[in-house]
């Protein structure tokens, strides 16, 4: 019998630079306007649609500054994945969905505390790489076979909205890929690998200079409402109420508008 030499696998530690949240403006929260004598404490867990990442992170930091002793945790993901997690018993306090059907999944299961409230809306826009190399001007260009086009898959909210928009415009799209979520579609525009993609206005805003947005009049046919609700089995109902209140406040609405959302 021979001795067995097991090759040593030396995995290289791959440093993955995760996108951190930007520095918070501490001075903006120096004087909280309306706080109880003692704000909510403990941990607040918010499940929110991926498109809310930037705005909600800022709002969470603000709430933490207003209520010392409160720790705000976020779980940002696709709304349908989040709705599944909530119905499977994930210990969340608040759920903010990127569309009504996924909120319905939670309310139908009797897991929302009260009626969900719409706090924002998002419309689709065409995203093209900086400089618009393919000269895309409108929805009709997304039917051109020779262009490389990304559209969200019909199973996810942005894809469902895209189907409605194409139907309203009477344009049969010629996509080369049906993306699993809106961020994946945006990434392909940022990398210049597709000539155009149909994404949300807020995604174009968040991508900065790498991406240009082109308005689509037909997108008005498929405006996505974002509902938010505290959850019935919230471990921290007091903090949940405070967060929902902040999102619906003038401040919260302004932050959403700055990120490209429409506010009710």
């Amino acid at each position: 019998m021979s001795t067995r030499a097991v090759p040593l696998v030396l995995p290289l530690a791959t440093a993955l630079v995760l996108t951190g949240c930007g520095g918070s403006a501490d001075d903006a929260t120096a004087a909280p306007a309306t706080t109880d004598a003692e704000g909510p404490t403990g941990t607040l867990t918010v499940f929110a649609a991926a498109s809310l990442t930037d705005v909600f992170t800022d709002l969470g930091e603000q709430l933490e500054a207003d209520a010392p002793g409160l720790d705000v945790q976020f779980n940002f993901a696709g709304s349908s994945a989040l709705a599944t997690q909530v119905t499977q018993g994930a210990p969340a306090d608040v759920f903010a969905s990127a569309n009504q059907p996924q909120m319905d999944v939670v309310t139908d299961a009797g897991l929302a505390d009260g009626e969900p409230q719409v706090f924002a809306a998002n419309v689709l826009q065409i995203a093209v790489p900086a400089g618009n190399p393919a000269g895309v001007t409108g929805l009709a260009d997304l039917a051109r076979e020779e262009l490389t086009i990304a559209v969200c898959a019909p199973q996810v909210p942005c894809g469902a909205a895209a189907e409605d928009v194409f139907a309203a415009a009477g344009v049969p799209p010629a996509p080369d890929t049906l993306e699993e979520d809106v961020r994946a579609a945006l990434t392909k525009v940022e990398l210049g690998e597709v000539d155009a993609a149909l994404v949300y206005t807020t995604d174009v805003t968040s991508a900065g200079d790498a991406v240009e947005g082109i308005d689509v009049p037909e997108a008005e046919e498929a405006v996505n409402d974002y509902p938010i609700a505290p959850l019935a089995e919230a471990p921290n109902p007091e903090a949940a109420a405070a967060f929902v209140e902040l999102v619906l406040s003038e401040e919260g609405q302004q932050a959403l508008a700055d990120a490209g959302f429409r506010t009710p």
Partner: protein
């Protein structure tokens, strides 16, 4: 050397963890089987969309395994037999795809083979060939993720193989290439077969790099794992059925191969 007769039974310190391991690996599968809406299995199996995704999965995983064999076996030989310096660094580098999150692998492939990529822009400009969003891209993404499994297996087999046979061949006048073909390859055939199976299975289940680099379009790039993921967004029951289809087909293929070919090679 005569082997001592084995005592019957398994020692308890091995038996208990082994049983736990089986439970740990099989219970999630049992969960799929228990929760599956069996009534939907028939319609799903015969639906053209599922057949398309399944065919694409099998074809691309097999092509990725073939490509991995052609490139990976020589690489494994270099890692196991070459005495060049920097071998351990090379080994660490080629196993990077094992630790790299596949989605990152997909982005990395874009940066090299994408339309704007280092090689891809040249391919596009010179030959008008674009790789992303094609079936070729699926095969490339799967090969990128799965080939290290083959390389590691084959390298292990090569190191474990008795080098005296190769030495004997050399003393009889065979050059290194002939020795490799006539002596080394048959000697490590079981290791290559095991590596190929591991590679094929990994390629069949590949998700992250594929959906990133090849995108998702039915018939061209939508493999079964992608179809399962998207079904999960809307209809978890359909996703369970699709998972079972993939499971049944892959297990059946592996069992068939084992009977037909693997067992002979291993003996």
């Amino acid at each position: 050397m005569r082997r001592r007769r084995r005592e019957p039974g398994v020692p308890v310190p091995l038996l208990v963890p082994a049983v736990l391991a089986v439970a740990f690996l099989l219970l999630p599968l049992a969960g799929l089987v228990v929760r599956a809406p069996w009534g939907e299995l028939g319609p799903q199996l015969t639906s053209p969309a599922v057949g398309q995704a399944l065919r694409l999965s099998l074809v691309s995983a097999t092509a990725a395994t073939g490509l991995s064999l052609v490139l990976g076996v020589p690489l494994a030989w270099v890692l196991a037999r070459s005495t060049a310096r920097g071998r351990s660094v090379l080994r660490a580098l080629v196993t990077v795809p094992l630790v790299l999150p596949p989605v990152v692998g997909g982005v990395a492939l874009f940066l090299v083979l994408g339309r704007q990529g280092i090689l891809g822009s040249w391919l596009d400009g010179t030959f008008g060939v674009t790789i992303p969003f094609t079936t070729t891209a699926v095969v490339i993404a799967e090969t990128f993720v799965a080939m290290p499994f083959l390389v590691i297996s084959v390298e292990g087999a090569l190191r474990a193989a008795d080098a005296r046979f190769e030495d004997a061949a050399a003393t009889l006048g065979a050059d290194r290439w002939t020795t490799f073909r006539r002596v080394t390859l048959p000697l490590v055939a079981p290791g290559i077969a095991a590596g190929a199976v591991l590679c094929w299975a990994r390629a069949l289940g590949e998700f992250g790099a594929t959906i990133t680099f090849a995108g998702n379009f039915p018939g061209t790039t939508q493999t079964m794992p992608l179809a399962v993921y998207l079904a999960l967004q809307q209809d978890p029951e359909a996703a369970i059925v699709l998972s079972l289809v993939l499971l049944v087909v892959s297990v059946a293929t592996l069992l068939l191969l084992r009977d037909r070919w693997l067992s002979r090679a291993v003996r």
